[in-house]
């Protein structure tokens, strides 16, 4: 009796989940017909940020590696695409693909240094590398344009209109998110989670923790780079600010806001975060003050983020049904 109800409930959850997914896909496909250009470009930004934050979350939420410098690798992706597009004549798609590859390669070098240390030191190392990347971009006028950035990408005509670019980034982001989901739920992803829970014990069962952390770092960097490349094409420009620590903290806050221990967390987080930032900054110039207060309140009272909050409610619902089942069998 109890088991029946439980099973029925869980099946319902799965069906609801699939329904949600189908609805979400349909919603995103018809979106350009429903909203204006301004909003569409906002949604585009959300998509790209969701990809960047999900890429970061592979490290942050899954493996438990606190990185302060994701923006550095995001910027590597963006600048790779920008430099390929403006300095060479290679096709747009190849320039976009080059972004994550170069970001992954840079991530391998940076990660090799960073995974040698843990905790505070790991975080500070990632920050240092991101700052070095920022300095290189900012100071190397001849190559990266310094603080002027690079403006005016030769984006193909097909992608010039905002709604066409929206579909392009939608496809890329969805493919990347599916990949991330597969990675997170593969045996490899489970090992990453084991490392997060207890690196010492994971080492004891014969897993090379450092190597897995490095692979997680490289994968995460590649996805961050992909997001950077997409944003480069979207905004038609790149600036040193992409590598700035403020951008890194945007991504970290998005993960926290949505919920780090949930795959959908960073996606929900980026939607809410960007909406909030537009909404609050249209009323006040002190948006950062509100952001700071939100961050402090999140840490004090809602550490699981939005998705953590929802799944807590969901699990208490399951608990409730289970308890009711016990009473039923008892009577």
């Amino acid at each position: 009796m109890e088991r029946m109800e439980m099973k029925g409930f869980l099946e319902r959850v799965v069906v609801i989940k699939r329904l949600w997914l189908a609805m979400a896909v349909a919603f995103f496909v018809v979106l350009p017909f429903l909203i204006g250009k301004g909003w569409l470009s906002l949604v585009n930004e959300m998509l790209i940020m969701a990809l960047a934050a999900s890429g970061l979350n592979l490290m942050l939420g899954y493996t438990g590696m606190v990185s302060f410098g994701p923006a550095g690798l995001y910027a590597v992706g963006a600048y790779t695409t920008a430099l390929f597009l403006t300095k060479t004549g290679i096709p747009f798609v190849i320039a976009i693909v080059a972004g994550p590859i170069v970001a992954g390669a840079v991530g391998a070098i940076v990660g090799w240094f960073c995974v040698r240390r843990t905790h505070v030191y790991f975080a500070l190392l990632t920050l240092a590398f991101a700052q070095i990347i920022w300095t290189i971009i900012f100071e190397w006028y001849g190559f990266t344009g310094g603080d002027n950035g690079i403006v005016g990408m030769p984006v193909p005509d097909l992608l010039m209109s905002i709604s066409h670019y929206y579909y392009f980034s939608l496809v890329v982001v969805v493919i990347c998110l599916i990949l991330l989901w597969m990675i997170g739920n593969s045996p490899f992803g489970k090992i990453l989670q084991a490392i997060r829970e207890n690196p010492g014990r994971t080492e004891f069962i014969g897993i090379n923790v450092k190597r897995y952390q490095l692979i997680a770092f490289v994968l995460s960097s590649a996805f961050l780079g992909a997001a950077g490349s997409l944003f480069c094409g979207f905004s038609d420009s790149v600036f040193p600010d992409y590598a700035h620590w403020a951008k890194s903290t945007d991504m970290i806050v998005i993960c926290l806001l949505g919920g780090m221990y949930n795959f959908a967390g960073p996606i929900i987080g980026s939607i809410v975060y960007i909406l909030l930032s537009k909404l609050i900054s249209s009323y006040t110039m002190y948006w950062m003050l509100f952001l700071g207060i939100i961050v402090v309140l999140l840490v004090l009272f809602m550490r699981g983020g939005i998705m953590g909050f929802i799944s807590e409610k969901l699990s208490s619902k399951i608990q409730e049904i289970r308890l009711r089942g016990q009473y039923d069998t008892g009577s």
């Binding site: 240094f113 505070v120 030191y121 500070l124 300095t135 926290l256 003050l289 700071g292 402090v296 840490v299």
Partner: protein, 292 residues
């Protein structure tokens, strides 16, 4: 390069390094005892600098106003720090490191915006007080007395802190809590109070730096991130939690930056980071720290 130029660069590098030492020492003491890396420590410094500006401009007619400020502004800053510890930090000691980062990061935003709200976005200046204004000739070039005064302050605070930590009762209480929190608690030491006290001491040091810096530069927004990154480098070079480490790290970074600007102006910023990476790879616990 002539000898006078080298001396001038060295002295200016040292004086900036000494101010950074005060902030880094606070950061390091807090990390050593509370095991919290206070990302907002630069913001506390900036709050101190703004308080210094308010005191000196409000009571500009008082004789020796700067010296009164030097006593009062760090105390005011320490009180701000005390409030932060009691109402916010205290709630998250038991939590994962990530939440401590994010909380103190949130404080960077809140404190930065509060400063903007209260003091505006403009630049403020504080004039160099008598009798440390003017300059003295050293090796044929004139050098500001105030920079020498800063170097003296840095050394005095360093010696004072070492004495306080090793030769006073309060200092050994702090060291006991740092060494073993539970044991100290069992011995009847009021650990939460010590935590608050240490955090306030760290903030007092940041406030002191915030008061000493304005006559040499300006009071403006953005100072928070400028100094905090330098402090990270210092504590990593010297060893997190080590006071002599922070002192040596500050001297190294100060000299490295001032000569770096002289030799390769564009990459001066990166020098500190590169040194930090080298140290972290070959001697991860820092020059003066202990292996974990």
């Amino acid at each position: 390069m002539r000898i006078e130029v080298i001396a001038a660069q060295a002295l200016s590098g040292l004086s900036v390094g000494m101010v950074l030492f005060l902030i880094a020492a606070g950061l390091s003491i807090i990390f050593g005892t509370l095991k919290v890396l206070n990302l907002a420590h630069g913001s506390i410094y900036m709050v101190g600098a703004f308080i210094c500006y308010t005191f000196t401009s409000t009571f500009a007619h008082v004789i020796g106003v700067f010296w009164w400020t030097l006593i009062l502004a760090p105390i005011a800053t320490a009180l701000v720090g005390g409030l932060i510890e009691i109402f916010l930090l205290r709630r998250i000691y038991a939590e994962e490191m990530l939440y401590q980062y994010i909380l103190t990061f949130g404080l960077i935003l809140v404190l930065g915006e509060m400063c903007k709200l209260i003091w505006g976005v403009g630049y403020h200046t504080v004039s160099v007080p008598w009798p440390v204004n003017g300059s003295v000739p050293i090796l044929g070039i004139s050098f500001p007395v105030y920079n020498l005064f800063l170097i003296g302050c840095g050394i005095a605070v360093f010696v004072g802190l070492l004495f306080f930590m090793h030769y006073t009762g309060l200092g050994s209480t702090i060291r006991a809590v740092t060494y073993n929190r539970e044991m100290a608690n069992a011995l009847g030491i009021n650990v939460p109070m010590v935590y608050t006290g240490v955090f306030m001491l760290g903030c007092w040091l940041a406030g002191l730096a915030g008061t000493l810096m304005p006559p040499m530069s300006v009071v403006a927004l953005g100072a928070d991130m400028e100094v905090i990154i330098g402090c990270f480098i210092i504590v990593v070079i010297g060893g997190l939690g080590s006071l002599p480490g922070a002192f040596i790290g500050a001297i190294i970074l100060g000299l490295l930056t001032s000569f770096g600007i002289f030799i390769v102006p564009r990459l001066a910023v990166a020098f500190g980071f590169i040194l930090m990476i080298i140290i972290l790879v070959i001697r991860p616990w820092g020059l003066m720290g202990k292996p974990e």
